[in-house]
């Protein structure tokens, strides 16, 4: 919904606005229906925005862009400096002209990404965290993707790979022997404290790197594509003081009230970019089944790029193709609006996203109606009373007052409450009571079976996610792997493997990993992570269940 920066500071090639604007129109339309499709609010605010000019030359650029916008069906209005200040009194005296676009707006990225992930899950997708893709090789007509290491390793055989790795798009493609001319850059953002003044509209600059918006809480976000000090694709990119000064000075010139606001934080992050500032989308020529989607302006345009990357879906929404794409040989399945991808006719292939675990074929879709219950909406805190819930292939399809169709499989809830699975974020599946019964040399198979028994108790009690924060013989990781491979049923497990303790410290006798000193702890921590731990657990004080920890100071 946001206009794009026609010129980032340091940008070699200006954006071809005339060519890009129809895509902006299409992207804007996609955001219009996105919340409905994602079934949640992502705080889309379409409050309109100004693109300002400070010089005669920039004013001319505004007029040119206004013409292209009209041609693309984007309504904008040109205002001179005084009219712009009358419309938005926060604008400073250097503003010579502005265009107003009532389609401009923004969404909350902290909500958008989780909403997409949740939606993917509802549609039958699975996501594996902390399993970086390490290898992509040809496998017959399809691809084999290896991700993660050690116990967490996943091997996915799939007809289709979709590379949407953002700034890492080129790196991932290179694993499959594909060279993409990507030129990722790191840029930075700045956030101020909350302002008592309200600026309801987006403000951008036609000729310099500047975008300013105010979030709901009142903080102002200042950006404009200013370069970071360094880009580290494997870690944290560093923000640049020069860019901070340049960007904020420009913001203060255009919006003088910002002068009084303290800067709260700044951060830098990598951005996918291409030499010509245009996105790279579609099936890679010469690499059937390997799709890429990404490049510049990936947040505003992501929904559109997603449509355009894959066959069938994109054309209606995008209005055009970026370039011709052949259909994949054997029908990759559409993402998005389609319902769970199960129970397809025999022979039809499954589509995988990069991070899918091993695919498990499923039988015919099972639908089930849960009738006459009260549904607890945990997010809103509201309870929807006396409703019927349709479950298809293990996912809630709809919550409705409508009665089930004749012949449907029904479970009558009889006024019971329906809520999401419970979670315990601190548990031990392998623990023995009393603690003194623990045998540190126990066979890991026995530990894992005991842990599995506890995990299954939890599952039938309604606990669908657990975080294990120390298990003998890393039993959590063993159970997690066995469940991922489809051998056993268990809650989702987020595991720390073994806790790391000091020699003789809390956890003594419980098969912790024992270490001492910086290097000792670094090694012990890396060992747990290498074994597939999702997090690390340490003891920084003693416990209360051991007689040797006496004084309150050691609690």
């Amino acid at each position: 919904m946001q206009a794009v920066h026609t010129k980032r500071p340091g940008q070699a090639v200006p954006l071809d606005s005339a060519r890009f604007l129809p895509l902006q129109r299409a992207a804007s339309d996609r955001w219009e229906t996105l919340e409905e499709e994602l079934e949640t609010s992502v705080e889309v605010r379409r409050t309109g925005g100004f693109t300002i000019a400070e010089t005669e030359e920039q004013y001319q650029e505004l007029r040119d862009k206004h013409g292209w916008e009209a041609a693309a069906g984007i309504h904008t209005e040109i205002l001179d400096g005084d009219a712009a200040r009358a419309a938005l009194p926060l604008l400073g005296p250097t503003v010579a002209a502005a265009t107003w676009c009532d389609l401009d707006g923004y969404a909350n990225p902290l909500k958008v990404t989780p909403a997409y992930l949740d939606s993917a899950t509802r549609h039958g997708g699975r996501t594996v965290a902390f399993a970086p893709v390490r290898r992509i090789t040809r496998n017959g007509d399809g691809w084999r993707v290896v991700a993660g290491r050690g116990a967490a390793e996943r091997v996915v055989d799939t007809p289709v790979v979709v590379d949407v790795a953002g700034a890492w798009l080129g790196e991932i493609a290179a694993m499959a022997g594909i060279t993409l001319r990507m030129t990722p850059v790191a840029i930075q953002m700045h956030a101020t404290v909350r302002s008592s003044a309200t600026m309801s509209h987006l403000v951008q600059h036609i000729g310099e790197g500047l975008s300013v918006k105010q979030v709901t809480a009142g903080n102002l976000l200042i950006g404009g594509g200013w370069p970071a000090l360094s880009m580290d694709l494997a870690g944290r990119s560093d923000a640049s003081l020069d860019s901070l000064v340049g960007n904020v000075a420009l913001a203060v010139r255009v919006l003088p009230f910002i002068r009084d606001l303290r800067l709260l934080r700044m951060w830098a992050g990598p951005l996918a970019a291409t030499p010509d500032e245009m996105p790279v989308i579609g099936e890679v020529p010469g690499a059937p089944g390997f799709y890429v989607a990404g490049g510049t302006y990936a947040f505003t345009f992501a929904p559109l790029w997603g449509d355009a990357a894959l066959p069938d879906r994109g054309e209606a929404a995008a209005g055009r193709r970026l370039r011709p794409r052949p259909r994949p040989a054997d029908g990759a399945v559409e993402p998005g609006r389609q319902r769970p991808r199960t129970g397809k006719p025999p022979g039809q292939k499954e589509q995988a996203v990069l991070t899918s675990p091993r695919l498990r074929p499923t039988s015919e879709p099972e639908t089930l109606w849960l009738t006459g219950g009260h549904v607890v909406d945990v997010r809103s805190g509201r309870i929807r009373r006396n409703v019927n819930v349709l479950v298809a292939a293990g996912r809630i399809e709809k919550i409705t007052a409508d009665a089930p169709p004749p012949g449907a499989r029904i479970v009558e809830l009889g006024g019971r409450y329906l809520m999401p699975g419970l979670i315990s974020v601190h548990t031990h599946l392998s623990v023995l009571y009393p603690f003194s019964a623990t045998d540190e040399s126990e066979n890991p198979g026995l530990t894992a079976l005991r842990a599995l028994s506890r995990a299954q108790d939890a599952l039938v009690a309604g606990v669908t996610t657990i975080r294990c924060v120390h298990e003998q013989n890393r039993a959590d990781l063993l159970v997690r792997t066995a469940a991922d491979q489809g051998w056993v049923a268990a809650p989702r497990i987020v595991g720390a493997g073994r806790a790391i303790s000091t020699t003789g410290g809390h956890g003594k006798g419980a098969d912790c990993s024992y270490a001492d000193g910086h290097d000792g702890f670094l090694r012990a921590a890396r060992q747990e992570l290498d074994a597939g731990a999702d997090l690390l657990k340490i003891f920084i004080t003693g416990g209360i269940a051991h007689q040797e920890s006496r004084s309150p100071a050691r609690r």
């Binding site: 902290l110 965290a129 902390f130 956030a191 709901t216 809480a217 903080n219 303290r262 709260l264 934080r265 991070t355 945990v378 999401p420 419970l422 979670i423 315990s424 974020v425 601190h426 031990h428 009571y433 009393p434 019964a437 108790d457 939890a458 009690a461 309604g462 606990v463 996610t465 975080r467 924060v469 989702r492 987020v494 806790a499 000091t502 270490a515 001492d516 000193g517 910086h518 290097d519 702890f521 670094l522 012990a524 921590a525 890396r526 992570l529 731990a533 999702d534 997090l535 690390l536 657990k537 340490i538 003891f539 920084i540 004080t541 416990g543 209360i544 269940a545 309150p552 050691r554 609690r555």
Partner: protein, 183 residues
């Protein structure tokens, strides 16, 4: 554990895009761990107001595991020693008061990562599917959290509000180590 040892573990976790959680009783060690970048805290038997406030400023995750100091019958049925049971019950009132101080320091708003607040989480320590009284441990812990001042819906959300589809757990608490309380 020394501060240097904590930093080593945090460094390893960050190398893998992950985080560290610490079994922690009282204030001074927690303040040291906050400085080292530890994002999660377990138990917190004896927090003072100042430490609770610092935890809110850093937007840490806190898992009180209140059940470990208020289930003497369950402990007796599971072969805990009389000393352990007596000790747990003795710590109990202080533990609850400690968690009330954490709640008073502010509950994190997931929609406003700039504002201070602690993300309260439901953790059982005991296996969560174990029967206890008329329910299971996972539910009993949420009831205990309401005793510490969470509303029932907050207690349900303590298991956590938006489980990320990719891990069932918000693996990377925000914001960064440089976080300070906004004005």
């Amino acid at each position: 554990m020394t501060a240097e040892e904590m930093r080593a573990v945090v460094r390893a976790a960050e190398e893998h895009g992950s985080y560290v959680t610490a079994h922690a009783g009282a204030g001074s060690a927690i303040r040291e761990a906050l400085a080292a970048g530890v994002r999660g805290y377990e138990h917190a038997y004896d927090l003072d107001d100042d430490t609770a406030r610092q935890m809110a400023d850093r937007r840490v995750f806190l898992t009180p595991t209140l059940c470990v100091t208020r289930c003497p019958d369950w402990m007796a049925e599971h072969s805990f020693t009389p000393w352990q049971i007596e000790r747990a019950v003795e710590v109990g009132p202080g533990h609850l008061a400690s968690i009330r101080r954490a709640v008073a320091a502010g509950i994190a708003d997931p929609d406003d990562p700039g504002a201070p607040g602690i993300t309260m989480l439901a953790g059982t320590d005991y296996p969560p599917g174990e029967p206890i009284e008329d329910t299971v441990v996972a539910v009993r812990e949420m009831e205990f959290l309401t005793d510490a001042g969470l509303s029932p819906i907050q207690a349900v959300r303590a298991a956590p509000p938006r489980p990320r589809a990719w891990s069932g757990w918000p693996a990377r608490p925000v914001p960064s180590r440089r976080a300070t309380s906004p004005t």
